[in-house]
Symmetry: C2
Subunit: 153 residues, 2 copies
Amino acid sequence: MSYANEMSARPESADERTLAARLRLAVVRLNRRLRAQRSEDRTVTLTQFSALSTLHKSGPMSPGELAARERVQPPSMTRVISALEESGLLTRSPHPTDGRQTVIEASAAGKAYIAAEVSARERWLDERLAELSEDERTVLRRAADIIDRMAGT
Amino acid sequence: MSYANEMSARPESADERTLAARLRLAVVRLNRRLRAQRSEDRTVTLTQFSALSTLHKSGPMSPGELAARERVQPPSMTRVISALEESGLLTRSPHPTDGRQTVIEASAAGKAYIAAEVSARERWLDERLAELSEDERTVLRRAADIIDRMAGT
DNA sequence: CTCATTTCGTTAGCATAGCTCACGATTCCG
DNA sequence: CGGAATCGTGAGCTATGCTAACGAAATGAG
């Protein structure tokens, strides 16, 4: 069943690397895991879901504003918005006074989708978090704030 | 200079979302920032650097083993290894006893590259971390361990 | 009012990064 | 010896970001 797969590699350990190196690896790995959690739901990707969540939570805004909140360049957001509109989860309407802008908003279907899928989407992560101690969750809660502050700069 | 860009969107706040949602957003955002830090160094991407670091730190191993450590599927790792080999930072050699396997190892150039570039690569993150308090860094250090444990499952 | 400048959203094209499926070579084991 | 398992890889797809360039609309100096 199990073949020999041991070489001179040292075992993976809680290591003495720098904080930057450890944090980078942790973030890269968790990001990969999170993106992989879209298998059953074929239509909406993590990026789209993230944008739709932010839009739903913050209310109608312009595409540029949403791009800024998600820390993404406007052209990247354009594609996300187009995909969500095509799925009927979001509506585009003209800005009342400024002809250059558009107002995007989560549609009724989009809001329903979020309500229904938010737990399914984050089920994997929720389960992992549930396995932790309350202290560990507190650490992650604080870390999420700190990371967000760093990434927002 | 400043155009009106206010709609009915609520301001972005330290919010009352679930831990899962907050952690997801924080990780996705930081990951984007980290990948963007490759501007000066044209040749080696974050994924390649991450793999090379792990290989250097853990010693010679098979491609499959490296893929497992990086939490990536073997075909994904093949491309990373090929790119690193082409750059001369890694060597492939046949396994002494198992003809199916190969042994990959950071070359002298690869080790030198890591030693020289590790700080440059992580400069952006290092600078952000330096702006934090010691307490905040401790939180991130613990969080990195917890996240890695979750992602490793 | 006129027109150069700025802003907004988008299109086009590129690079990275991951996946699954399939396949050939090799090894293991009954 | 021959079927089954394993390893690495090739092919092809999708997602996710970026920059450059552009057209439409708004602004503001004259």
